[in-house]
Amino acid sequence: MISGARLKRMVRKEFRQFFRDKMMLRMSIMIPIVQTLILSYAANTDAVDVPTVVCDLDRTQVSREFLASVTSLDTFDLVGQEVSVEDMELALDRGTAELALYIPSGFSRDVLEGDAQVQILVNGADSITATAASSYLLQSAAAYDVTVKRERVARLGLSTQGLPSVRSETRVFYNPDLRSMWFMAPGVMAMLLFVLLQNFAALSIAKEKELGTFEQMVMTPIRPTELLLGKLIPYGLIGALDALVIGTMVVGLLGVPLRGSVLTLAVALIIFIFATLGSGLLLSAVSANQQQAQILNFFLSFPSILLSGFIFPRENLPQVLYWVSEVIPMTYLLRIIRGVFLKGTGFAELWLPNLLPLTVLAIIFFTLGVLRFQKRLD
């Protein structure tokens, strides 16, 4: 039993306060726009111009050929070519280089004897970039290996035709250039919505409690559901508007392809908005003031973002944390949003594995929030 008239007036009051609060306005419009740009470019894991030093103790024609062939990609930025072993280690220590290639003396002889070794040193402190760059280096070295063998065989006057070899060729679907922005930008959209809405919802009731207006409100005949919906509907609408703005930017400005249906995306976002407002409401209901709500929100937001697969693949998580990540709405939204944007995944394929669990979580969080909320002062 909800009075539509009272709900309408409650919503109007919330909007009035919202638009009067310049800070809230800025937070909900400017921050998403600026953050989308910053995060999408910053959360870039592409390896380009990785500062690299080379310590070539062989200094022969062969070693220089090898170097030229493996470092020709623009992945590497050679900051030192013929440095000593000490300088190579120093460069890694100081961070002037992320990657070092060590060619021992006798390399050219070993190549001829068929058993040459080189060493790649990687700065593990920035593991994402370094790993990507070193894998490029390994690939190039393997290619050089094949080239050298073929040349040797040819020089012996034999045909290279029947030479046994396996070549694996990788083709990347959906994101052929492996542009990390394509992967990150839709995720950034999910994360911004989550941070903004959970914060709004967490503060909603806590703020009224802190200002004493909650005490006044519980003295009136307003029903708990009217109060809660009245507070959350405006935030939901603002969230939907933000989703539209961020989505338009991601496609229009950042050039990320939206291959799937806009409708599927919209449905997923609406369910996600519900789930997030529900979990925020739960935080608000258990908090006595805004500070408590904010600290709770702070401690719960980070795991949500980190465990959801926003940055790290969930498959690498320890089993317990993997289970935890299954009750995080972000986990499902990320899969949906990336699927819809890059793969064009349709509603039918998303429903059972992703949309349904998201809906269930939304219902659970919302119900818990409503149940935990008490229209009382004790």
Binding site: S3, K13, Q17, L211, G212, Q216, M219, P221, L377
Partner: protein, 313 residues
């Protein structure tokens, strides 16, 4: 008194917070049209009692009826017919006076034209009409509390509950405030307030004195004054502090309370008390200007009742 004539009735109402008993078996009957004051020191349990009878806090035991509704059984039933003004600031600072009042009317689903009419009338009466568009956050404490009172009355309640309504309010706003309250009984509205101030208590028709969660005395302000044991003498002296020292050890003196440049000295009944006081002051070398018997003030009554009550407990 039959149940229909009662605006509020409680029976053995109790509430504890951990070890502390905030309200301890309170039974009160407040007739319709009364202005009832619950008077007691800070921490006596006044606010808790107000919250219990409003149904926003659950009692541990006991009964509470307000405007004929059982608050314990159905706390929401009475809210449409009840008004409440809390001690803490409880309006939206970022909304104007008018917007706050309108929103309160909305919460009770009051017809807009009626809210409009009452708003005009009460803003006029409280001298706030010219500030109607001002944000409540930019008002003085007294003005805020007057707006709060208008909000609490906007649903035309049968019972108005005021929790320390004029704490921290300037005298002029307090006068405006009471101008509205004193009109309410003739409209059939029952006012229940709590306050630590005696001048506010003096404006009530009935009082109950509460300390440590228990009602120690009940009655009209006049009856309260008569409850003071013995006689109260007003002693005016040049050196009030020396006089106070000289008198507080006398066996016939029950209490010495300073009031500005005078002392209220509560003594045992009888003529000889006056001469004993005079002699004690003479021995202490204090020049007394005047000693005369006085009608005990409410404050004397309050001090006497609370001290005696606490001694028993």
């Amino acid at each position: 008194m039959s149940g229909d004539d009662l605006a509020v009735r409680t029976e053995d109402l109790s509430k504890r917070f951990g070890e502390t008993v905030a309200v301890d078996g309170v039974s009160l009957e407040i007739p319709v049209g009364d202005v009832f004051g619950l008077i007691g020191p800070d921490g006596a349990g006044k606010t808790t009692f107000m919250r219990l009878i409003s149904g926003v806090m659950r009692a541990d035991s006991g009964q509470a009826m307000i405007a004929g509704e059982d608050v314990i059984a159905d706390p929401e039933a009475v809210k449409q017919r009840m008004g409440y003004l809390s001690q803490a600031f409880s309006l939206y600072a970022d909304l104007s006076i008018e917007e706050n009042i309108d929103f309160c009317g909305d919460l009770y689903l009051m017809p807009r034209d009626e809210v409009q009419r009452m708003k005009e009338e009460m803003l006029e009466l409280t001298d706030l009409l010219r500030f109607r568009k001002r944000l409540v956050g930019r008002l003085s404490g007294g003005m805020k509390q007057k707006v709060g009172l208008i909000c609490a009355l906007i649903n035309r309640p049968q019972v108005l509950i005021l929790d320390e309504p004029t704490t921290g309010v300037d005298p002029i706003s307090r006068r405006d405030f009471w101008r509205i309250i004193s009109q309410l009984p003739e409209q059939g509205v029952t006012v229940v307030l709590c306050s630590p101030y005696m001048d506010e208590a003096a404006r009530c028709r009935h009082l109950a004195m509460i300390s440590r969660g228990r009602i120690l005395a009940e009655g009209t302000p006049e009856e309260m004054r008569q409850k003071v044991a013995g006689t109260v003498l007003e002693v005016t002296a040049d050196d009030v502090r020396a006089a106070s020292r000289a008198l507080s050890d006398l066996s016939s003196v029950r209490r010495v309370t300073p009031f500005g440049d005078a002392l209220h000295v509560q003594v045992e009944e009888g003529r000889e008390a006056v001469s004993e006081v005079r002699r004690a002051l003479g021995e202490a070398g204090v020049d007394e200007d005047e000693i005369h018997e006085m009608v005990p003030s409410l404050e004397d009554a309050f001090m006497d009742i609370v001290t005696r009550g606490d001694r028993v407990a």
